[in-house]
Structure formats: C-alpha cells, structure tokens
C-alpha cells in the first residue's frame, strides 16, 4: 500500500475514544533493514538497502533510503542509481525469521487472538485483553515500547474497529507511529482516501472505477452498489462498496500459520537455456521441500513463477492429488508448469516455486500409492523412498551446513518432452 501517499488530512487526530476499536494491526517498519541496523548501530541514519546483487530486487529499505525514491520490490540496479551511496546488505533470512518469531511472542503475551499475516505483520483482537491491560491504544503503545526495547526495532500500529481499517491506519502511522481510528470516525476517515487505498483495488479495478467517475472512497460510498457492480463485477462490487462504508466482518483468526512457502531466484544474466532454468528450479524446489519438512507442513498446491526479460511475471499452479513435502515431487510438477508457460520467445530473468495450501503433515490424511503400500509399513510419509532420501539430506545439512549436499541430476538421454522414466514394475 506504499503507493498511497498519506495526505495531511489523513494523519490528523481522529479522536481518542478507543472503546469500539479493538483490532490492532502491527507492522514492522522496514523490517529487514531495521534488523540489520539493530545489529550494526553505526549504520543508523544512513540509507540502507537489504537485497542481493545488482540484478535482484530490494527486499527492504530504510526511510533514509526511501527519501531517495527507493522502495521494496524495485530492481537493485535502479535503487543504486537513485541512491548511489546506499549501504547494501545481503539478506539474512534466518535472523529475520528468528526476530519475527520473538516479536510474535511479544504479541502473544497480549492476547492469544493473534493472526500472523507475514513475517513482519499481524492482527490482534484485544477486546478481551483490555480488562487486564487497559484501553486498546495503551496496549498498542505497550507493544511498540516492548518491541523497541527488546529488539531495537520500531513498528507502527493501527487501531480500529476492524481489520481492514486497522491495516490502513498502520500504513498512515508509519514510520514508528500509532494511529487510532475510533469506530465513529471510521467512515469519515475512509472518505478522505483515494479509491486505490481499498484492499483489492489494483490498477485494473482503479481504471474500471475511474471510467464511471469514481476515484475516491467517498465517491464509491455514495455510488449505488449496482453501479459499482456493473463497473467491477458483482462480487467485487458488493465487497468494495462494503469496504467503502467500513464494513469488514472478518474476525481475527489466530493460529493461522504461513500461507505458503516458496523460493525464487534471479539469474545473473537473462537466461535462454531452459535446462539451466530447470536446474535452478530443481534447487529451489529442494529448498522449499526442506523448509516444509522443517516446519512439519505439507503443501497441497505447487505454483511456479517466471519473470521474462521484459519484466512480465507469469505464474502457474496445480493442485496435487496428495499433499507433499518432497522437493522432487514439487520439482516434477513445477517443471510441467514451467514447460507450459508461453515465454513469447523471451529469456528468463527470474524463476520461483512455491508450495501453497499448507497444512500440518501430522494431521493430513495420506493417500498412498500402490508402490508405497508395497513397501510395507515403512511408508509413513508421502513420497516414501524419495521422502526418506530428502530427510537424510536434511540431517546432513543440519550437521555440515546447507551447502554440504544437494539433489543431483544424472544426465539423461533426452526423449521427447519429459525425462521421467519409470522402472518397470514400479509405478513411481
């Protein structure tokens, strides 16, 4: 939502009555960059950018770097043109995950009703915690203080009557701020915003609404719902109209874990050799599988992302018959998806793979294959033999580091579009 520039109007005080505002949206400020600065205090006050080499994208930028127009997801090369003296730090995802876990633990001390959205964002419903800890805005300040004191990083908190408004409020509170939107102020607050502030309004929806003369939330709210539906479709129209009136009935759902686990990688040079792209996809799938196993999760859907040299991004996904945590299975599906993407003859800039529809491996019923049954009682995990091999790889990595072992490729004779071979008498 960084494209929505907060106007002066929005930042003003919307009142102090927080009795009807029990939803908090906690959002870390420039999270990866803040973590890096917390352990390198001499960088404080300087423009810092977290990201890989030249051809990758910015993962996080401090507010000092943002002042130069740098923002996350921007290609690194462009960021360095805008801000040549920026300090570039390669990402350290392991540390970010650990800090994230500790911050979430701070939130869990407030209430069990915490819904983690991503590594650096969460919703809290503090309706019940208020008896113990005081009004919502006190709780919000308490969280901000504790995160700052324990981890040396700042966060912004939006306090409102529902999730959607709380999330908007935290955006406008940034950086290192707090914005309370009392229940009564919900509609006046929304009416100050452009229509693209609403969840789900991207470029296409914005343009579709603009054709009907709707550019602000106020105009959207004052339009007949039927008109909005004609502009953007029945379901989206009704939903947007509700949002414009501050109606968002979704509860805070605790215990929701990560929605997906994925890995992607940008090539040093745009890649035309699909064998190289495929080999990279194999490594990424392997990494995804390892992360799924580490968290005890299985993925029901595999999705592949490809970005071509013209920056067009394509994604394709397929739902599996039986959820998996085996990198090889993800790769086989990923390779099919990749082959079906129409690259329009362009080279590949980035490739990624992602496991979605995650659930706990222990609680997910397993649909075994004939082969897994034939192996007898040992086939406890999906994928049987292959799963066992990858678990062994996990153990090697645990002891000797992640570079110690990787899935290899035996060069095969190319036979048509696929190189999958089945040993006779075996089904997989």
């Amino acid at each position: 939502m960084s494209r929505v520039r907060p106007g002066v109007e929005v930042r003003r005080d919307w009142g102090s009555d927080d009795t009807g505002a029990s939803i908090l949206h906690v959002d870390m400020d420039a999270f990866f960059a803040s973590v890096e600065i917390a352990r390198r205090p001499h960088l404080r006050g300087r423009p810092v950018v977290v990201g890989g080499k030249e051809r990758s994208v910015v993962l996080a930028a401090t507010y000092e770097a943002r002042a130069f127009g740098v923002h996350s997801a921007m290609p690194m090369a462009r960021a360095l043109r805008l801000c040549p003296h920026a300090v570039v730090i390669p990402p350290d995802h392991r540390t970010y995950r650990e800090v994230s876990r500790q911050v979430m633990a701070v939130l869990a001390e407030v209430t069990p009703l915490v819904e983690q959205i991503s590594v650096d964002e969460a919703f809290l419903d503090v309706a019940g915690a208020r008896r113990r800890l005081g009004p919502s805005s006190h709780i919000a300040e308490r969280i901000r203080t504790q995160v700052r004191e324990r981890h040396g990083i700042t966060c912004s908190v939006g306090v409102a009557a529902n999730k959607f408004v709380a999330k908007l409020a935290s955006t406008f509170a940034k950086p290192d701020g707090l914005l309370l939107v009392p229940r009564e102020a919900t509609v006046p607050f929304l009416r100050t915003l452009p229509v693209e502030s609403l969840w789900g309004v991207g470029e296409q929806t914005r343009a579709a609404l603009a054709r009907w003369g709707i550019t602000t939330v106020a105009e959207l709210a004052d339009s007949d719902v039927a008109l909005v539906q004609r502009a953007v479709g029945a379901a989206a129209g009704a939903h947007l109209h509700d949002l414009a009136w501050g109606r968002d009935p979704r509860p805070v759902r605790p215990g929701r874990t990560e929605k997906s686990i994925g890995a992607e990688s940008t090539f040093g040079r745009d890649q035309r050799d699909m064998d190289v792209v495929e080999a990279r996809l194999r490594e990424l799938a392997d990494e995804c599988g390892a992360r799924l196993r580490k968290q005890g999760l299985v993925a029901r859907t595999v999705s592949v992302k490809v970005r071509t040299s013209d920056f067009r991004t394509l994604t394709r996904s397929r739902t599996l018959t039986s959820p998996t945590d085996v990198g090889r299975e993800m790769f086989l599906v990923g390779r099919e998806l990749l082959a079906a993407v129409d690259l329009r003859g362009l080279a590949v800039r980035l490739v990624g793979i992602r496991g979605e529809g995650l659930s706990s491996a222990a609680a997910t019923p397993v649909q075994p294959t004939f082969d897994e049954l034939a192996l007898g009682g040992q086939a406890e995990a999906p994928g049987s033999v292959r799963a066992a091999a990858e678990q062994a790889m996990d153990e090697v990595r645990e002891r000797f580091g992640s570079a110690a072992i990787a899935a290899g490729v035996i060069p095969e004779r190319r036979q048509g579009p696929s190189t999958t071979h089945l040993a006779s008498g075996q089904l997989s």
């Binding site: 739902t319 039986s322 099919e336 004939f370 049954l373 089904l427 997989s428």
Partner: protein, 376 residues
Amino acid sequence: MKFRVERDVLADAVTWTARSLPTRPPAPVLAGVRIEADPQGVLHLASFDYEVSARSQIPADVSEGGTVLVSGKLLAEISRSLPDKPVDVELDGTKVQVSCGASRFTLLTMPVEEYPTLPAMPETVGVFDGEELAHAVAQVTVAASRDDTLPLLTAVRVEIEGEKVTLLATDRYRLALRELDWRPASPDISTAALVRAKTLSDVAKSLGSTPEVTVALSTGSGVDLVGFESGGRVTTSLLVDGDYPAVRRLFPDETPIHAVVDTQALIDAAKRVALVAERNTAIRLAFSEGQVVLAAGQGDDAQASESIEARLEGEDIMVAFNPHFLLDGLGALDTPFVRFSFTHPNKPVEFTGQKDLEGDDDRSYRYLLVPIRFAA
C-alpha cells in the same frame, strides 16, 4: 475449387475433424483443416498435429476440384452458426468465400504445400462393437492419470489375446481393468499397445455411436501407430512409448472380507456425506453386520454421517477413501449392486459389480482403490 454442401453435414464433419486441433499449435498450418474437393462428389477433410490425425469424408456437389487449408476452429464455428440452407464454398485467389443464405464469410487460406502428410491407416487387426467399446473405455479411463509428469500413466494399456481384449489404466492410486470381446482379423493375435487415455476416450465418444469400430495397429515397424475407423471417419494416433508397469499383480489373490451394497444408494449417500469432506480429505466407510456407515469430517470441522443397508461376509472392517476416487469407481460400475473385497483396512480394496444381492460378481470390470491412511 468450388462446391455446395448441406449445412448440417458440413458442420458435423468439420466439428469432428477439428475437435482435437491444438489451441497453441507448434506451427500455424497445424491449426488448419485441409479440405479436398473431389470432382467425383466427395469432400475429404483432414486435421493433424503430428500425434493425432483425423479424417472424414462427406458427399458434396463439387463443380470444381481443389484443395485448401483454412482455420479449423473458425470454420467449425462458422458452419455451426450458419442458417439451415445449402452452403457454397469457393476459392477466390488466396481467400475462401463461404456463402449460405444471406450470410457471407471470407476466410484466409494457409499454404497447403506446407501441410504435413497424414500417416496412412495401418493394417486392420479387429473390430469392436461401438457401444461396448465406448462403455469399456469410459470405465477404464477414470483411473488413468491426468498428470503429465508421469506420461506413461496417462495411457491405457490395451492387451489383445485372440478374441479377448483387456484395457488397463492406473494413476498409482487406483487401477481399473476391463475385459471385452471383439472380432480379431486373425484368431491367434497376441499383442499390446499403449494409447493415450485422452485420445482413446475421445475416439470412443465420437465413434461409439456407430455399430462397428475397426482398429488398426502397427507396432515394431518404425512408427508405432493405432488407427480407428468408423462410418467414413478415421483417427490415427501415435502410441505411447515405454514399459508399462506390471499392474495385474496388484489385484489381491485372496480377500477374506466381502461386502455387497446397492450401488445407487451408496452413490447418493456418498455424495451427501462428501459435502463436508473438503478437497481430498477422506470419507470413512464402516462395514458391520447388515449395514455400512458413511462418515466424513472430524474434530472442529463440519461432520456428516449416513448408514445404508449392506451385506457383509467376514469381520467388521473400516476403510477411508478419497471421496472423488470412491465416486469414480462406483460411477464406473453399471450394475445394481457393488461388491467390495477387502484384505486389510490399509490394503487396496477391489470394487466389482453384481446383478443381485446374492450371487456372483461380474469379474469383467474391476476397480482397485488404495484407501487413505490416517496419521496416528
């Protein structure tokens, strides 16, 4: 080239010939249908994508012979939408004029000389009853894999032994086997072929309404090809290459537990109970004396259960199935009763059909399904 043809006849033939044209053809000409007008009063239509070819012929009033190549999908759509009047088709330079009543269409042609040569129909090996073939193919292809990561399993294995043909398909979770009779060209024929399930199913649907389907096969002599011919329509397809796993051994030798249930009653109950089984989660079947209890959902999720009459021989048993796979198997049976044969709750369960509650099962169709296993 110039001809006049009945609108229904044209629409039907073009739709059939163009039905398997690829949406994204490797070469533009492969999106075309080739029309050859024979002054003898016959139109020959053809399509080909290097794997599957289709040919049909229809009577037409040909005043000038010739051959053109036009977009198959477009011509099919146009001919279906035309008014019910004779259709006039004429080549005019590089364009084809299609006129029917007051409608006029101009289609671009593609270079006929770039169109590949269609494979010749191989030698005839036997003849099926169209309806029986269609039914058998539908019963078996439910179990074939749709997953292109396992190309071999997207095929149906066709085993031919004299007057008996066996169709087999599996996606690793279930296995379907169907035996049927045919009239072989030679009584001592013994061979096997792998035909892509999608192609076979398509052929069965489009040719199954005819009384007889002739099958042609060439294996081991260069290109491995299968051909089907019926009522002037010919389809050929490349065979799938590879060693199909030895799946017959998966059928259990002995099954100490049997249960017989009314097929339709079970389908109806399973559909209701499956409403609470989210995608791919299980439907549980608990068999005991006189009944089977179907149940799905557990813990905090929505739950459903229903019991129906069943006749059980052997010990009580409970199995869990993917509801989709269960319904596929039950739907493929064409008998009033289904017989389940069990060895163990975690071992594959065999489905067969039978006419009466008491009596023997019909072994010509067997569906074997691996139960879902619950984590401890």
